[in-house]
Amino acid sequence: MSILIYAESAEGKFKKVAFELAAYAKNVATSLGTTVTAVTVNVSDISELSKYGVDKVLKISNDNLTKFTAKAYADAIKQASEKESAKLVLLSSTTDSLYLAPLVAVGLDAGFASNVVGLPVSISPFQVKRNAFSNKAFNITEMNSNVKVLSLSKNSFGIVENQSTLTEEVFNPTIGNDFGVKVESVEKSTGKVTIADADIVVSAGRGMKGPENWGLIEDLANTLGAATACSKPVSDLGWRPHGEHVGQTGKPVATNLYIAIGISGAIQHIAGINSSKVKVVINSDPEAPFFKVADYGIVGDAFDIVPRLNQKLKEFKAHNS
């Protein structure tokens, strides 16, 4: 009865969230006196997982799983979980994992808790802490089902190394080839850090005055290896693509560092970014509501500050890498 995790990957490489999930699972497994099994899909070199405490890998290689389809992946995870008699199935909070999680839960007749932050509050009875009310509160949820499915909020535990000796087993779940929903094409910007993957997000609002000024934001993001994002008015005005809109009706952000430039901080914006660890605001209006939720703030003109900050960060990076 080990803990099963789905170690998510893209193009044959593990995502960072897979390592965080493994580290989390190891910690919970230790308090339960059990081991961690990871199921992987079309990843040839799985050795990296041993750094984060995975004891066993069920390795799936299947051409029908080249493109993500929730039904097929959920089926594979369900079968892996049954094979391991897992009582606890852990998933990440990526778009794909959140898509398949409820299917896995229903398939396993399991209780499901999403948005889990941190380690279980209690093991017996099993209680977890979850984000709720758009990060304005936490909810302690008790789960009594025999099998439990949890999805872990990104960045809520951290990537903790914990070396283990890993065994590898080829696993061939029974997967059909008709999944009801067929992926026709994928449109994805390449070579850019995505908001979902980024450790740092540089976000800007109407204070930038126009799309022609976004070069400043992109330069700063490049220096920091960050993703770029924007506020809702900016995407509504068409200054930036919709995919960059973060906030309540846009993308959620849970990153290590969120830098808000020329964003006043409407409550809907804050709701979407508030689970980021450290927030920096740069705004010319000292009364901007963002200052109430930020950790660090600079009152001033973005057009003056951002280029100077970028230059100083370049120098800093040159000395510290």
């Binding site: 999680a101 409820p102 229903v106 850019k192 919709h242 995919g243 200052f291």
Partner: protein, 248 residues
């Protein structure tokens, strides 16, 4: 085409979030409730199908009588009829079981729910309904067109979008993109008047056990005040981010 739009009755974003009864219940005192934003995008798309393709739109909610104004608002926006399942929506699984029963009995072709609600943010209900019913399912749906039984749709993925094809019956977890914010409708007087006479059926719940139990709520610890840094001293910001916050 018969469309069922699942509506959550949620506190408006600007509401103060407080708890009562030993922090075990959400305090609804003075809270303004609205149609869950993700559901409203879906509802508006459903009304488009009604106007352009002759679809019939039913809205459904699991909740007590106090949620009826939210259903009436959906009727005022243009839904043909409403169903309220008279039960406290204890957890995602319980709600999904109730809604799946409505889907089974009503032979709906397209079931639209929001990808998550603003209150519990669980993101469970559409997927669980799909699991229970074995229907086709698309989450984070940002575009949706229906031609006969054939569906073309888009799903938001990390860093882009995916174009998919599928068939009815279909369940989607919808979000912004199904329609844009500017397309959302404010009920007009005529809509509000007609909504009063539209059918709102109250059904009793079927037996279903919740699989999780929200036992307690907590509010985050109060945040310490922002550290202001002089714009002439950007080295100080870099120093704090590096040595204090340890994020660069």
């Amino acid at each position: 085409m018969k469309i069922l739009v699942c509506i959550s009755h949620v506190p408006d974003t600007t509401s103060k979030i407080n708890f009562t009864n030993g922090d075990s219940e959400f305090d609804t005192n003075g809270v303004q409730f609205v149609i869950n934003p993700n559901d409203e995008f879906g509802l508006t798309r459903a009304i488009w199908f009604q106007e352009q393709q002759g679809a019939n739109v039913t809205v459904v909610n699991v909740g007590g009588a106090e949620t009826e104004p939210t259903l009436r608002k959906a009727l005022a926006i243009g839904a043909n009829e409403a169903i309220r399942i008279n039960a406290n929506p204890t957890d995602g699984y319980f709600v999904a079981k109730q809604l799946a029963e409505v889907v089974r009995n009503g032979n709906y072709d397209l079931i639209i729910a929001g990808k998550e609600s603003l209150d519990y943010n669980g993101g469970m209900v559409p997927g669980m309904m799909a699991g229970i019913l074995g229907y086709n399912f698309l989450n984070s749906c940002t575009e949706l067109t229906v031609d006969g039984n054939n569906v073309k749709a888009a799903r938001e993925i990390d860093g882009g979008k995916e174009i998919v094809s599928t068939t009815l019956p279909l369940i989607i977890g919808g979000q912004k993109g199904l329609v844009e914010e500017k397309d959302l409708r404010i009920p007009n007087m005529r809509g509000i008047m007609t909504a009063r006479t539209k059918v709102l059926t109250v059904l009793e719940p079927i037996t279903a056990n919740a699989t999780t139990n929200a036992i307690k709520f907590e509010k985050p610890a109060p945040k310490s005040a922002v550290k202001l840094i002089n714009s002439d001293n950007l080295d100080e910001l870099i120093n704090l981010l590096h040595n204090e916050a340890k994020v660069i």
